[in-house]
Amino acid sequence: MTLHLTRRRLIGSLGVGAGGLMLSGCDKVASSSTGQALLGLGEKATYSAQRLISNRAALAQEFSAADMSPVFRTNGNTQPASADYAAHAANNFADWRLAVDGLVANPMSLSLAQIRGLPRRTQITRHDCVEGWSAIGQWTGLPLGMLLKQAKLRRDARYIVFHCADTFGDHPYYESIDLIDAFHPQTILAWGMNGQTLSVGHGAPLRLRVERQLGYKQAKYVMRVEAVATLAGLYGGKGGYWEDNVGYQWYAGI
């Protein structure tokens, strides 16, 4: 009986000890390079699995006007700080130009009026924030694939990078997507939202909508679209502001 109690106590204390070790251990595992590599495997597995089981042209759900959020909240940067941007905003972006360059045969520079004059797509879609909230809104803009066809992507282009006017401290905002998403029919450079001109709070004059990914991929204040072969060497090298500075996953389909 004495032995039995001792064993019980032993098992109990082993359990408590293991729990304590794991608690403090988890943060140590995550900060080690091996731990990072192991946890990073999860992201690669998710990206591959989702690309494997989903049709590359599968459309994000589109909603009716009755499903729209009464208030579509803003988040992230809501007012770029640069004097250059402020001047463009004051001028209703009349002298503003979108640059399309990088690995393209036909680099372009387009005014907002020219972009609005090109074919447009309007879609009511759900915006999913990485934090967990969702909002449904209507977006109108130029299909990105159409723009890239006009710019004539070179064969070595693999990613499309969006350079933005807003910054967090010294870090400019930017984002990047693969060509599957770049040529997806719902991927647009939106200049209209909920039937109105895109507001500064939501990313005027142009905001990327890449509907099958989370909110931080939906770059606001897009100034330049660049085709690249690799994301290495651009800013922090991980393909986006949040990816470089906070460790959010580059593939934000989950």
């Binding site: 989702q50 499903d67 967990g132 969702s134 099958r212 906070v246 959010y248």
Partner: protein, 275 residues
């Protein structure tokens, strides 16, 4: 599978004190994988929740919309219910930022959404892949049909009430009766296998915008991403409840014998009082 490997196949009458082979290797391995993966999934999930400690029903849900659950500093609201939770929920750790669930309950310990998502999505594979394999094994080996499927007599209200009464009085089955799962165990394990696990995985997938595009039946099934997020949270709380009762039962039923049975498969049948 050998005949003596199967717990409920015409056993010779057993008595309290006998050692019987109770858990097969697939069950034991899966149990300990889950002990690890659920632990990480729950704690990293609570940190992900911390990024937006509000829950909604419907197709959209953000700060200006009507929520059914909020955690604010020292305060939990569930529908019309206001519950003060000072020091427990809605705390600001020394030198950290406000969190709904406190550092002892989350992975990573301090606010880190990106880190929590890495843990959550890496360990999700450890929950889902072995889970699917165990499902396949459970049906193929007939473990589910033979050992977990309730018999009609067990589901009679009188039987259920009797078993609940016995459990409340902490009188657990002994001898031959302890060889088989009782109806409350069956209901608990079936709920985990066929309600909580599929529920938590499917609602988890529904929060992925790429999965919603690939499988539009997912958001349709749960009534929208915010609803799926709410059900995901409720399933997680279901796991917490299951684990709490499970651990309590292990302690009450004799932790040495119970843990040994989950390590070696061998279980000593409890004796009657005075046997």
């Amino acid at each position: 599978m050998m005949a003596n490997d199967a717990p409920s196949e015409a056993p010779p009458p057993a008595r309290g004190g006998d050692i019987v082979y109770r858990h097969r290797i697939a069950t034991r391995v899966w149990h300990w994988i889950n002990a690890l993966s659920l632990f990480v999934m729950l704690m990293s999930g609570l940190m992900i929740f911390n990024a937006h400690p509000h829950l909604y029903w419907g197709k959209y849900g953000a700060n200006f919309d009507h929520s059914w659950l909020d955690i604010t500093p020292g305060h939990l609201r569930v529908g019309p219910l206001h519950i003060p939770t000072p020091g427990l929920l809605g705390v600001t750790p020394h030198g950290g930022r406000f969190v709904a669930f406190p550092p002892w309950a989350t992975i990573p310990a301090h606010y880190n959404l990106a880190g929590a998502r890495q843990w959550h999505f890496a360990f999700a594979w450890l929950l889902v892949v072995p889970g699917l394999l165990y499902w396949a094994w459970g049906f193929a080996s007939r473990h589910f049909q033979r050992d977990l499927a309730p018999r009609a007599a067990e589901l009679k209200p009188s039987h259920l009430l009797h078993d609940i009464g016995q459990h409340v009085r902490l009188r657990f089955p002994t001898g031959e009766a302890a060889r088989r799962y009782n109806i409350l165990q069956k209901i608990a394990y079936l709920s985990v296998l066929f309600v909580l696990l599929p529920g938590v995985v499917l609602t988890g997938l529904t929060m992925s915008p790429a999965m919603d595009a690939a499988w539009p039946w997912l958001p349709a099934l749960f009534g929208g991403r915010p609803s799926a997020r709410s059900i995901h949270f409720l399933c997680a709380m279901g796991f917490v409840l299951f684990i709490a009762v499970h651990l309590l039962m292990v302690v009450l039923a004799g932790p040495f014998n119970e843990v040994r049975s989950m390590l070696t498969g061998r279980y000593r049948l409890p004796r009657e009082k005075g046997e």
